[in-house]
């Protein structure tokens, strides 16, 4: 260990050489290497955490680069965990990084976190959050949780004793939000929360400061507000009034929208599939060469659940309806309605000078 490298933190009262050794001997598992996982892993590696396990099945896309600062244009198309591990080990010689390029699942999660001192939930998937929460409670491993919705964020350290995710949220069938890239996010918002997650992890490992347990912090980073909500220690059960069908609603269901430029970026990055909801005789046809028809999401094939399904029509009205139907049928799926429809996307393709027309 290079003592000079860590001098600024070992000289911090309450941290010292002892705190540094605790970091060096620690194992931290980070699930999700996006906008939160990148800064969190970087600060933990820089602080001298000895072992990091990075878990993410995704590859780097161009639209990730504005907030996932471990990556650059040469990494596009590569697994995030591989690119991150390479960069972190190169910069921080005391850290050993294990990269796991797979989606966290019921069958793998226990092995992955079996000797972890702390687990970070930096995912963009509420199912993954629930899985990590439950297994961390079962194994009494602290779970540092961060999540983003546009300019707002949530942060907590969940433990079995002081309150966990299910104590905060009586979760039933929430669809949650789609990925940050569709909801819209500023890079520093994810950076701030990722750094907070790294700080909470260091506090837990080194035993410095007051851990953020028993509280859920909600930040409105654009409006400059912070709310700290005390967590109950028990789970509440909330009975759903009834299954809400969109037809019964007095108000319209929320539909996520995507601009032609955003859609094209997601398609280019392989993060989305485009479904044309119009009749086959309607013109102009989509210039995106792999445009699918409605049948492809209705025929029982579930491949589209791995992607954002972008629905396009002539103007954006039928596609919004298709989104609502899709969300009802596949509550776990992610979809968006293409603003301006297929003609607007064609214009974007032409403007880019990269027409996919044969």
């Amino acid at each position: 260990m290079d003592e000079l490298r860590y001098m600024a933190q070992t000289s911090l009262p309450g941290f010292g050489e002892e705190g540094q050794l605790k970091l060096l001997n620690a194992h931290v598992v980070i699930v999700g290497m996006g906008g939160l996982g990148c800064p969190a892993s970087q600060y933990l590696a820089a602080a001298g955490v000895g072992r990091l396990t990075l878990v993410d099945h995704d590859v780097v896309g161009v639209s990730n680069l504005h907030r996932q600062l471990l990556f650059d244009i040469r990494d596009v198309g590569q697994h995030k965990v591989a690119a991150a591990a390479r960069e972190l080990e190169c910069r921080y010689p005391d850290v050993r990084v294990r990269s796991v390029a797979e989606r966290i699942s019921e069958s793998t999660v226990r092995t992955l976190i079996s000797d972890a001192d702390v687990v970070l939930d930096a995912t963009d998937d509420i199912e993954a959050t629930l899985l990590l929460n439950d297994v961390c409670c079962e194994t009494h491993t602290p779970l540092v949780y961060g999540s983003i919705y546009r300019g707002s964020a949530q942060l907590a350290v969940f433990t079995a004793d002081d309150g966990d995710f299910r104590a905060a949220f009586p979760v039933g069938s929430s669809r949650g939000s789609v990925a940050c890239s569709l909801d819209g996010v500023l890079g520093p918002v994810t950076g701030i929360v990722g750094c907070y997650m790294a700080l909470e992890t260091i506090k837990l490992l080194a035993g410095i400061g007051k851990p953020r347990t028993g509280v859920l912090s909600a930040f409105d980073l654009l409006g400059n507000n912070q709310f700290d909500l005390a967590l109950p220690k028990t789970h509440h059960v909330v009975e759903k009034q009834h299954i809400v069908e969109s037809k019964q609603l007095g108000t319209e269901l929320e539909v996520d929208h995507v601009t032609p430029r955003e859609a094209l970026q997601l398609l280019d990055d392989g993060e989305a599939v485009l479904v044309d909801v119009r009749q086959v005789i309607e013109q102009p046809r989509s210039l995106w060469e792999n445009t699918l028809l409605m049948e492809s999401v209705n025929d029982g094939n579930r491949d589209h659940l791995n992607k954002v399904v972008v629905f396009g029509c002539a103007q954006g009205k039928r596609s919004a309806t298709a989104c609502k139907d899709y969300s009802k049928r596949y509550p776990e799926g992610r979809c968006a309605s293409l603003i301006g429809g297929i003609p607007a996307l064609n214009a974007e393709i032409k403007a880019r000078g990269c027409s996919h027309e044969d």
């Binding site: 959050t129 940050c180 108000t251």
Partner: protein, 76 residues
């Protein structure tokens, strides 16, 4: 009337970050009340906090208090 603070998707559904709700006794009744005013709230899971403490459905809402509805986020 009770004034309820709304976060994130709930504020977007309602169109503003505050909502006035007729006074009710319990958090369970509050959930029913906000959902009858905004049926789309039934599509979103959310926590109810009274005076910055997350509380369960049987919690009694008394006197002047700060009420907030907060859905979980899942972006990262």
């Amino acid at each position: 009337m009770l004034t309820v603070m709304l976060f994130a998707q709930l504020a977007e559904i309602h169109g503003e970050p505050m909502m006035s709700v007729p006074r009710v006794e319990t958090v369970k009744q509050l959930r029913q009340s906000v959902q009858s005013l905004q049926p789309a709230f039934g599509l979103v899971d959310f926590a109810v906090a009274v005076n910055r403490v997350i509380v369960g459905p049987e919690h009694i809402i008394e006197g002047e208090c700060e009420i907030a509805l907060l859905p979980p986020f899942s972006g990262g």
